[in-house]
């Protein structure tokens, strides 16, 4: 029997973790990436990676609490078994990364240091300066290079994945990819295909994401029949630095180390921030959320910053929305030791020293909770059955999705420092499942399939490329169309969403798609043609843009990152205790009704002409019952009291 091969698309944390684990299991890997894998977007992750640790454990923390924080932070939209399993693996994953040489910050005694991140009360986050993602990525890149030397891994860097190859039964038998230097299109037989291509921030024009995050690999797999889950859940990070080319992330670790968010109480106070006295500063997160303060989950922090600027008119500047993120009260040496990397970024791009002057920040599109739908095998203990081929497998047999491109772990909102752990976890756990699949492949290996299967796929993609290349240089510029798409998506499908606006945006996206289909190609060269590669990626943004808008339009509720003011539950306004209680009862009734209707995953499938078809799937909430997500909101205690009473009532004998 021919030796098995697996194709992995994407060489960030997830793709590299899967690749090294597959190689360790004796499976050869072809690794595809648009960029040398060491330059993948994972290197932009700054703050750290979460797990329960020896220190937090002694303060009452546990794997279960990490699991609970993640599920609660995600507003209960994630299936619970994979999240539970991830939380249990998290400490082991950090140990492994430590063994691989990641330069985690240390305590004076030489243990790994940890800091606090949003959505938890424990200091759970291990970190390497403020470039933790880069350091984790490098450790995995080094391990994969080891396997490259032994011949088990072949890298195809500067290759663009064009789509899967499916046989007559619908099973994936490989993929087609194009060398974006020499422009050769080639079909690769593979016994399993792992999509690890990350997020799709470029749909929004400018975001915190890297330039390779076009979403094209996800879109091409979706267009080939893969289901897409929870597309409308897109994380907008509270703190980014606006720029003409990119919105640069200012890590949550700045707040984890004590950074405070504020605006002057006087709108557009002309004084320099250092001269504004404490009493004239509005620390709005700390006032509204006394328990979590500046470390409320991202969706909440983002909405509060957005509202303070748009609704309350308290933006620091008039022309441009921004608030202060202040770390100037922290000693310089401590800042350099723990946050050096991100403060340097701010200083380099803004020309202002954030150790001396508060930073000006505003929210920016950052992460996609949604992604390719994938499966899991639930274990008797409520986790997942490691080694099951169902884990991370999409609805197309033989195609797996891991990392940011899957929809599995973060529900309606991701907690800070949970993405790195989810990426590595899904990468490590997909491998044994694939090994199980390969041991008993239906219909033999990919190499044993008829040659015509691969030749046909190759011919189809070669023809599509030739068609693009032969386009006229007269017509609309794809880069400008991309800017327009970004503006529409940013306006309609980010922090606050309105149904009429979403409907209008959908029509606008359809019109843009038609224009993009006729866009000009101004480069006719058959050598390193970025123009064609970009135009093709742009075309593939539309199916995803449509499913995001349609999913958001359909979902008439507020959950995590998806917020519609007209669907928001009313706040408790009464002063009289009895009336407050009545309002809270009413609030809880509506909360329960809403969960009954909307606590479901959105599943999009690609219909005729790329129109998304939506359906809904029940969420496995069997381990932690859903509860109101208040984070100690000032005035929210009465709701918690009523809710607790109801839960006790449920549990009590009747």
């Amino acid at each position: 029997m021919a030796r098995s091969r697996v194709a992995v698309v994407g060489g960030g944390l997830a793709g590299l973790a899967a690749t090294m684990k597959l190689a360790e299991l004796g499976i050869d890997v072809d690794l595809f990436s648009l960029t040398p894998v060491k330059r993948s977007h994972s290197c932009c992750a700054q703050g750290g990676i979460n797990s329960v640790n020896n220190l937090t454990r002694q303060l009452g923390d546990s794997e279960w609490k990490h699991f609970d924080d993640t599920v609660y932070g995600g507003d209960f939209l994630a299936h619970q078994p994979p999240v539970k399993e991830m939380s249990e693996w998290a400490p082991k994953i950090i140990d492994l990364m430590d063994r691989l040489g990641v330069t985690f910050n240390r305590t004076p005694e030489g243990f790994r240091d940890q800091r606090r991140f949003g959505g938890t009360l424990f200091s759970r986050t291990a970190y390497a300066g403020a470039t933790t993602g880069q350091q984790l990525l490098y450790a995995l890149d080094e391990q994969v290079r080891r396997w490259e030397v032994t011949g088990h891994v072949t890298k195809y860097e500067f290759w663009d994945y064009l789509g899967p190859i499916l046989d007559g039964s619908g099973r994936c038998r490989g993929c087609v990819a194009q060398d974006i230097v020499g422009m050769e299109v080639r079909a690769f037989p593979a016994d399993a295909l792992v999509i690890a291509s990350g997020g799709m921030g470029l749909l929004y024009g400018r975001s915190t994401m890297s330039m390779v995050c076009t979403g094209s690999a996800a879109s091409r797999t979706y267009q080939a029949g893969a289901r897409y889950g929870n597309g409308e859940f897109v994380q907008v990070h509270p703190t980014a630095v606006p720029g003409a080319d990119k919105l640069r992330l200012m890590s949550e670790s700045a707040r984890g180390e004590g950074g405070r968010i504020w605006v002057p109480r006087t709108p557009q106070d002309p004084r320099p921030p250092q001269e504004i006295p404490e009493s004239e500063r509005f620390y709005f997160l700390e006032e509204r959320y006394p328990k979590y303060g500046n470390l409320v989950p991202r969706d909440i922090a983002t909405r509060e910053i957005f509202n303070v600027c748009t609704r309350d008119g308290l933006s620091v500047e008039k022309e441009r929305f921004c608030v202060y993120l202040d770390v100037t009260h922290i000693p310089r040496e401590e800042l350099d030791l723990k946050l050096g990397g991100i403060l340097e970024i701010y200083e380099k791009f803004q020309g202002v020293d954030p150790r001396a002057v508060p930073m000006k920040i505003f929210p920016a599109v950052h992460y996609s909770m949604g992604g390719l739908w994938c499966d899991y095998a639930r274990s008797a203990l409520g986790g997942i059955e490691v080694g099951s081929p169902r884990n991370q497998q999409t609805n197309i047999p033989g195609i797996f999705a891991i990392g940011e491109v899957d929809y599995q772990f973060h529900g309606a909102n991701r907690l800070g420092a949970n993405s790195l752990v989810a990426c590595i976890f899904s990468g490590l756990t997909v491998a044994p499942g694939i090994a199980t699949v390969l041991a008993n492949l239906p219909g033999g290996t990919a190499a044993e399939q008829p040659v015509s299967l691969f030749e046909d796929a190759h011919r189809r993609h070669q023809a599509a490329y030739a068609e693009l290349l032969s386009r006229s240089p007269e017509g609309e510029n794809p880069y400008l169309l991309h800017e327009e798409l970004g503006k529409v998506m940013t306006r309609a499908a980010t922090v606050v969403r309105h149904n009429d606006d979403l409907e209008r945006a959908y029509e606008e996206v359809l019109a843009l798609e038609e224009r993009a289909a006729r866009a000009a190609i101004s480069d006719q060269s058959n050598w390193t043609n970025q123009n064609v590669v970009f135009a093709r990626a742009l075309l593939d943004m539309f199916p995803l843009a449509k499913l995001i808008l349609k999913g958001a339009r359909a979902r008439d509720e507020c959950r995590g990152a998806h917020y519609k003011p007209e669907c928001a539950l009313p706040p408790i306004t009464a002063a009289d205790p009895a009336e407050r209680r009545r309002q809270a009862e009413d609030w809880c009734d509506r909360f329960e009704e809403n969960n009954h209707r909307w606590l479901k995953s959105t599943i999009a499938t690609c219909g005729e002409k790329g129109e998304p078809q939506l359906s809904y799937e029940e969420v496995d909430t069997s381990l932690i019952p859903p509860r109101p997500r208040l984070y100690g909101l000032a005035g929210g205690d009465v709701i918690e009291e009523v809710w607790r009473g109801r839960q006790e009532g449920v549990g009590a004998p009747r």
């Binding site: 040489g101 240390r106 490590l428 880069y479 006719q524 390193t528």
Partner: protein
Amino acid sequence: MMNQPSNVQNQRTFDVVILRQDGPGRPSYWERFRVPYEPDMNGISVLQRIAALGRNAEGKRVAPVVWDCNCLEEVCGACTMVVNGRVRQACTALVDRLLEDDPRQIELRPMGKFPVIRDLIVDRTRMFETLKKVQAWVPVDSYLHMGPGPRQSQENQQLAYVLSKCMTCGCCLEACPQYLKIELTRKEGEDDAAFAAREKEAFNRSFMGAAAISQIDLFNRHPTGMMNAVERLDALIAEGGIQVCGNAQNCVRVCPKDIPLTTSIARAGRAATFHVLKQWLDR
């Protein structure tokens, strides 16, 4: 100070001259572009504007300039090029500062020590091949759970962290007088594998450069990494090793991550001397 184009009133512009090349072995040529000024621009937003314009300064439609970039935060290393004569990442090259060098224009060139693929993109395969040669990794037994890694002092972590921030961008090599360009052309009938093997051999014989020496320093001080110190030191003193360094100290001056490369080279040099002595004594 700024050019004033005839068609747009009150729109400040500046020029960008780019050394272009259509492909390997093709002649290079300068092309001029005129870009509308915006606040807070950098090398990448300039190239993005040029792509969106699609025309050169004479208004002629030209093939878009090709360049490499990814993170735009100076952590990935992709967009390294020569900006106003200095090797650096284009993303952190702020236009306002660049126009202080020369208010009329900004000059962009590809790095000169690596083969040009097209326009501003060069082939840095050699850097990644060198990382294989020096075994820049921690050789763990397996990826199974074996408990935490070795405990380390804060001092050692700080030192390792600085070295570990190397993005394999190539600035140090561009600036190094001893690091010379290797550009092979394919022989007739030579297939991919044969060409790659010939290229790898050429890379291995040539100077490894500061980035790789510093990685040897990094992994040889890691408590597990040092178990393979001998193999790395063998690579360090082999052909193309540390003896080629001419101590010009340009590398440390251009490193965007402030890696103390000359300190690394000095430490590696001492280790190499002990290694050679020990080899001699053990004979």
